[in-house]
Symmetry: C2
Amino acid sequence: MNHEDHQEETLHVGSGEFRMTKQRRVVYDVLLDQRDHPTAQEVYSRAKRRMPGISLATVYNCLDTMAQAGVVKQVNVARDATRFCPNLRPHAHFLCARCGEVLDVDLKPTADATLAWAMPEGASVEHLEVAMRGLCPTCASQPAQLV
Amino acid sequence: MNHEDHQEETLHVGSGEFRMTKQRRVVYDVLLDQRDHPTAQEVYSRAKRRMPGISLATVYNCLDTMAQAGVVKQVNVARDATRFCPNLRPHAHFLCARCGEVLDVDLKPTADATLAWAMPEGASVEHLEVAMRGLCPTCASQPAQLV
DNA sequence: ATGAGATCAAGAATTATTCTAAATAAGGAA
DNA sequence: TTCCTTATTTAGAATAATTCTTGATCTCAT
């Protein structure tokens, strides 16, 4: 009886275009609701609570589709599974070596991340990913752990 | 009859310390001789030419040991296999989207790579990895490919 | 030479991700 | 609506990078 009946809609964002299916909506909402940079597996677990029949392959498909459309970002820190986040501002990622949390680190308002680097003449940068590791503010202020 | 007979020596570098065994020497030389950021598999192929009996597991072990010791760096661009390089200067990596080449991009002499980022107050950065994608100078100057 | 500990080799095991094929769902045209 | 075409989903197999395991081998200090 209301607009909720329209489960489909088409989104035009960034480079791509895609249909917001039920599954993609669920996956996207999972990312929006808990912004802790989950892996595909973690997204899958959370998505299943909302839509028990969803499959892991679909979660991968959805994340991939949305990443290509530019709606979510893939985050690679360290060598483990790719993580995902819906933060579209230019930002880097900081992995705390102690607690494992992944923090977003925004690009300063007027800054240019490539400026510090001696780029080869004529190269064009389409994409830049920055991964930092260290101690987050909380862990850095804690005394050294005996574990 | 000469010093070459001493195949063992101990290196103290950066954070770690390790024995330069025959295998590690070969793996390290492979990295020094062709600085094209090979994957572990590629290192293995090249190492086998010099030491046919070397095993893939050993190549992984050697790369790991040397990475921990700080003698080589692990390079993660995109989602594929980790690459390795013996360049110890602070530098970023640039993957050409067309030719697939990986270029080293040095940090500018006095620059600070974290300066562009709004680091959370109190965080300490131990490690920073920058991966860029785009077109290298050569490919950027070429007309668009029809493939 | 001997013993302790490090390193190596071979292959099995793990894990993230991609692929395949068949079933289902969606949007447009008649 | 009903039919048609195409996109999407699903489940499970396949792939690929990496790690683990175990026993053999090597190195160094005694």
